[in-house]
């Protein structure tokens, strides 16, 4: 009788999705315990249920969905533009020595001027607009894209390129059929890093530019002293990144570089 109850329970807990939640369940329990013990005043350190209630209320008012959509759209546009410019530029400087000599000093120079350092002048030029936000995100996303794409094409073994040449492939076909797929592990690393930095830059930009978005919501909560909304914002950021990783990056890796045996599979 006990086994009949335990076995389905066990198979439930063995599911990957459930296992992925395990650490968080523990974290929430510890959090709730600390709150219940009233180590800190509740207004400064609200519990999981308070945050859940705030979540419900902000969703009901339509604020959270709108802000979430704003933030995700900004990130997607910024990352998309960053990728469209960064990857080809990286491939170019990775493959073409003269381009490398021309672009490399410029890239190093501009990399040193961090995204946030651009904000003062951007606010004068473009004001509190989507252009400002997009610029900051593209700026952040583009450097890891360039560096990793450039590194990626240089890691393709020379014999693979020679094999393609002596099978009759033109330079253009070698780029498409050999160099870009060969650079893909690094390009995906660049995408992962770029999105990660871009996400942080976005929150910073939203705090400063301050019209809408998750970053704005968190900073705005400071005025009403609503710690609940700040914590809610932090949780949303974490979950959203987890969703991007599990829903976009991991499937892309599994279908390409892991399938091809270019990197070992994650057990």
């Amino acid at each position: 009788m006990r086994r009949r109850i335990l076995l389905p329970l066990r198979s439930f807990f063995m599911q990957p999705a459930v296992q992925g939640l395990g650490p968080f369940v523990l974290l929430v329990i510890v959090w709730a315990l600390v709150v219940e013990l009233e180590v800190y005043p509740r207004a400064f350190f609200p519990g999981p249920l308070d945050v859940l209630r705030a979540f419900g209320s902000l969703v009901y008012k339509g604020i959270l969905p709108t802000y979430l959509q704003d933030s995700v759209t900004r990130l997607a546009v910024g990352a998309g533009v960053g990728m469209l410019v960064g990857v080809p530029l990286g491939l170019l400087i990775g493959l073409h020595p003269a381009s490398y000599r021309f672009f490399w000093p410029l890239i190093i120079f501009f990399q040193a001027i961090g995204d946030i350092a651009w904000l003062p002048i951007l606010l004068i030029w473009f004001g509190f607009t989507l252009t400002t936000m997009t610029f900051v995100i593209v700026y952040t996303v583009i450097f890891p894209m360039i560096f990793n794409a450039a590194l990626g094409v240089r890691t393709v073994p020379v014999e693979m390129i020679r094999a393609a040449q002596s099978l009759g492939a033109s330079p253009w076909r070698i780029l498409v059929e050999v160099l870009i797929p060969g650079a893909l592990p690094n390009i995906i690393t660049g995408l992962r890093n770029g999105l990660g930095y871009g996400w942080r830059a976005l929150i910073a930009a939203e705090i400063i530019v301050g019209t809408s978005g998750i970053g704005f919501m968190m900073f705005d909560a400071r005025r009403s002293g609503s710690v609940v909304e700040m914590i809610l914002g932090m949780i949303v950021l974490g979950i959203l990144w987890y969703v991007v990783d599990a829903g976009v990056l991991r499937p892309a890796e599994r279908a390409t570089i892991e399938r091809w045996g270019l990197v070992r599979q994650v057990p």
Binding site: P157, M160, R162, Q165, S166, P181, W260
Partner: protein, 256 residues
């Protein structure tokens, strides 16, 4: 002149660390008729791979010239297929897509190139593995793909750079026998680079022994052992041991 003609070929490198010029290949002349199977044999570092790379068009010669069926070689091209020691398969392509690659690059229609590729996949004994990726295959099977990929492209000359050096001894013997079988069936012209004396004698019609760096032709030894060549039979065949001993003597005194 039909076939491959190498005339007074030299390759001199400039070593940026020592500031000296180093000759890798010196004054090599060689002719290979169409349908011949020639092995280039020499100690490691004798410049035999440099020689092959010049024939493939991967590196330019310093002096001399290479003609294939009367045309001067000036870079890599599909008339010379190369089988690499490291296989150099495309990991992101299946076995079929690897073998199809050359035909696709040359614009052969899809149905025809798939048919040709399947024919050569069967020829190298990989039927049923068409949709596997290279990393799912053993080293021996990967090199079978490497051979099929070149043969499907029907090059005038097949260049093989120590192709069986990175597979285990048993697999190597099987691959050597398979290669002689395929050569017997299709008669491709093969230039085969190796440092393995027995491999050279087993496979080729002619063994060209190079001296140590800089590589020059020391001697060309004709091999008139019977075909098809099978290891168990050949080891017992009259003349095999004597031939191996003679070629070994040439390589070792050359290396002394």
């Amino acid at each position: 002149m039909e076939g491959l003609v190498i005339r007074d070929l030299s390759k001199i490198y400039y070593d940026i660390y020592t500031g000296q010029h180093v000759a890798a290949v010196e004054e090599v002349s060689l002719e290979i008729g169409n349908g011949e199977f020639v092995a280039i044999l020499g100690p490691s570092g004798c410049g035999k791979t440099t020689l092959l790379n010049m024939v493939a068009g991967f590196i330019p010669p310093t002096r001399g010239e290479i003609l294939l069926n009367g045309r001067r070689i000036q870079g890599p091209g599909p008339d010379r297929g190369v089988v690499f020691q490291s296989f150099a398969l495309f990991p992101w392509k299946t076995v079929l897509d690897n073998v199809v690659f050359g035909l696709k690059m040359r614009g052969v229609p899809k149905e025809e190139r798939d048919r040709i590729a399947r024919e050569y996949i069967a020829l190298v004994g990989l039927e049923g593995f068409e949709n596997r990726y290279p990393h799912e295959l053993s080293g021996g099977m990967q090199q079978r793909v490497g051979v099929a990929r070149v043969l499907a492209n029907k090059p005038d000359l097949m260049l093989m750079d120590e192709p069986f050096a990175s597979v285990d001894a048993q697999t190597r013997m099987t691959l050597q026998e398979e290669l002689t079988r395929i050569w017997g069936a299709r008669q491709p012209t093969i230039l085969f680079v190796t440092h393995d004396v027995e491999e050279a004698v087993f496979l080729a019609n002619r063994v060209v022994v190079l001296t140590p760096r800089p590589g020059r032709v020391r001697e060309t030894v004709p091999v008139d052992l019977p075909r098809p060549r099978i290891w168990q039979h050949l080891i017992e065949a009259p003349g095999y041991k004597g031939l191996v001993a003679r070629v070994l003597g040439l390589v070792r005194t050359a290396g002394a």
